[in-house]
């Protein structure tokens, strides 16, 4: 009986893993098989041309701009908010409400954020269609993710660490940046990695705030087209699955690079305190 239960549970675990791995292999495999033909140097590194076989360099640059900017905006605000909620605010109705609101917002379709950003940043604040408007909008989208994952990471830091530090006459703030935050970094980082994914994958919200101009952006105040928006337009308007898959490959490589970078940073930070 016990063995049976044990085996069933084991089977469930392995089936789950199998499901996860096979979807991973299927999706990534599919994208590679469809898209690899389109990958070549001129595709990657030449300027876009509406009429012919241009490359996607402007989109790559735009994507990097957007990721960097939105993470730069959302991470400090999100992490600091989480610190406030977890370490400073009195546990009570307000915090519960805030947490509840953030969680619920995570489920609003991004197009609604896009419409909001399109009115608030683009028109009201006069930022026009620009990488800045787009980044601010997706920064709001990823805020809940960063807040929640950071909160969870902080929660897992043993109370004993905080007590020890405070008992040594450290202030709450010293305790925070010397003990609590370093212990929470892996968790925070996984939140950021998820957010990078979310930013890179965003199409609707960015389309409505950063626009779709297929040109090399001169700066963050220019409108431009990210890789995902490009893939979205290719699929939706042209049915160009192969082109979308080629962009998919580029995106996967970018995500891989960014994740590896994040991991390296985490390692550095971990070494610094151990």
């Amino acid at each position: 009986m016990r063995k049976l239960k044990e085996n069933i549970l084991k089977l469930l675990v392995y089936l789950s893993v199998l499901f996860t791995i096979s979807t991973l292999v299927l999706i990534v495999g599919y994208i590679f098989i469809k898209g690899i033909k389109g990958i070549n140097l001129s595709f990657l590194f030449s300027d876009y041309s509406a009429s012919g076989d241009g490359g996607i360099l402007p989109m790559i640059i735009t994507t990097l701009y957007t990721v960097a900017l939105s993470i730069l905006i959302a991470t400090p605000i999100g992490v600091l908010s989480a610190i406030y909620l977890q370490e400073y605010a009195k546990k009570g109705k307000i915090v519960t409400c805030i947490r509840f609101a953030t969680e619920s917002l995570a489920g609003i379709p991004s197009i609604i954020y896009g419409l909001f950003g399109g009115i608030f940043f683009v028109v009201t604040l006069g930022m026009k269609y620009s990488i800045l408007s787009g980044s601010l909008t997706v920064a709001i989208i990823i805020l809940p993710v960063i807040i929640r994952t950071t909160e969870e990471a902080l929660k897992t830091v043993p109370q004993a660490y905080r007590e020890a530090s405070l008992a040594l006459g450290s202030t709450k703030f010293q305790t925070l940046y010397k003990v609590t935050l370093p212990s929470a970094i892996p968790g925070i980082l996984s939140g950021i990695i998820l957010s990078v994914g979310r930013v890179i994958g965003e199409s609707a919200a960015i389309l409505l705030t950063a626009g779709t101009v297929a040109q090399m952006p001169g700066g963050i105040f220019d409108s431009a087209r990210t890789l995902t928006v490009h893939a979205y337009l290719l699929t939706k308007e042209n049915g160009d699955i192969q082109g979308a898959a080629s962009i998919g490959i580029v995106l996967i490589v970018i995500v891989l690079l960014l994740n590896t970078m994040a991991r390296l940073v985490a390692k550095k930070l971990n070494k610094a305190n151990c």
């Binding site: 041309s49 509406a50 009429s51 399109g118 683009v122 028109v123 026009k128 269609y129 389309l207 409505l208 626009g211 779709t212 101009v213 297929a214 040109q215 001169g218 700066g219 220019d222 409108s223 337009l233 290719l234 699929t235 939706k236 308007e237 042209n238 049915g239 160009d240 699955i241």
Partner: protein
């Protein structure tokens, strides 16, 4: 491209709107810039309504639409310029033997009165009807010319938001039938003759192929900049219309 303020001709023209019109305008912009290096043109593909709204609000100078203006929009003082015609082709899967339908058959299929391909001379398989979303310019044009209303559309119809998506669906499903703008038709699908009239630009121009609608540019009355005006003029010029033709659309000339 940033605007060079020192040149009297320089400046930025912002265009936004329909994703059907967008690609061809993008090419026009590229060509236009070759001759007018100091003018930069920004083309946003965000949908007809958004483009019109942007033009009303002043976010964009010129709006692109693949449908006629609604009364509410006209009231806001917009001026429209027709820049091209677009035929709408009925498409089916490559393996489908049906090559021609009457316009009434098309209507009945979309209203759900004909549900099997054998009723129109094909195999004994159900027809999977694919349509654009409510509000789409292509759909408006299609329904108006075929002669039925939105609420009459068979409820089970597959709804898809973009010519590309419709093409992909039809390409992958032998039962499917959909409609897309001429500019997007290619070898991956069959395009049907309607009442024995082939879907070609000549037939549209000649008025024989009836399922067609205009592409328009709009701008706020009296606010069009010199650069904006010269861009619209370029599109209407022979060179501009050649680009329109080369993308499979129909020149208004």
């Amino acid at each position: 491209g940033s605007n060079s303020s020192d040149s009297s001709n320089g400046g930025k023209v912002t265009v936004s709107g329909s994703t059907s019109v967008g690609p061809v305008i993008e090419i026009c912009a590229e060509k236009f810039k070759e001759a007018n290096k100091d003018i930069s043109i920004e083309v946003q593909q965000v949908g007809s309504s958004a483009g019109i709204k942007n033009t009303i609000e002043g976010t964009s100078e010129i709006g692109m639409a693949s449908r006629d203006l609604k009364d509410e929009e006209k009231k806001a003082g917009l001026k429209e310029t027709e820049v091209a015609l677009d035929g709408i082709a009925l498409i089916t899967n490559k393996s489908n033997k049906v090559k021609n339908l009457t316009i009434n058959q098309v209507k009945d299929i979309y209203k759900g009165k004909i549900t099997n391909w054998k009723e129109v001379g094909g195999k004994d398989t159900p027809i999977v009807v694919v349509s654009r979303e409510d509000g789409s310019g292509t759909r408006d044009g299609f329904q108006e010319k075929v002669g039925f209303k939105s609420e009459e559309l068979v409820k089970e119809a597959q709804i898809s938001d973009g010519s590309g998506n419709i093409k992909t669906i039809v390409e992958g499903n032998e039962n499917a039938m959909g409609y897309i703008s001429f500019g997007y038709v290619d070898k991956s699908v069959n395009s049907l003759a309607i009442d024995n009239v082939e879907p070609t630009a000549e037939n549209v121009k000649a008025g024989k192929y009836v399922i067609a609608r205009p592409f328009i540019l709009v701008n706020k009355e009296g606010t069009l900049s010199k650069q904006g005006k010269s861009f619209i003029d370029f599109i209407l010029s022979d060179e501009g219309q050649k680009i329109v033709k080369s993308k499979g659309f129909i020149s208004i000339k």
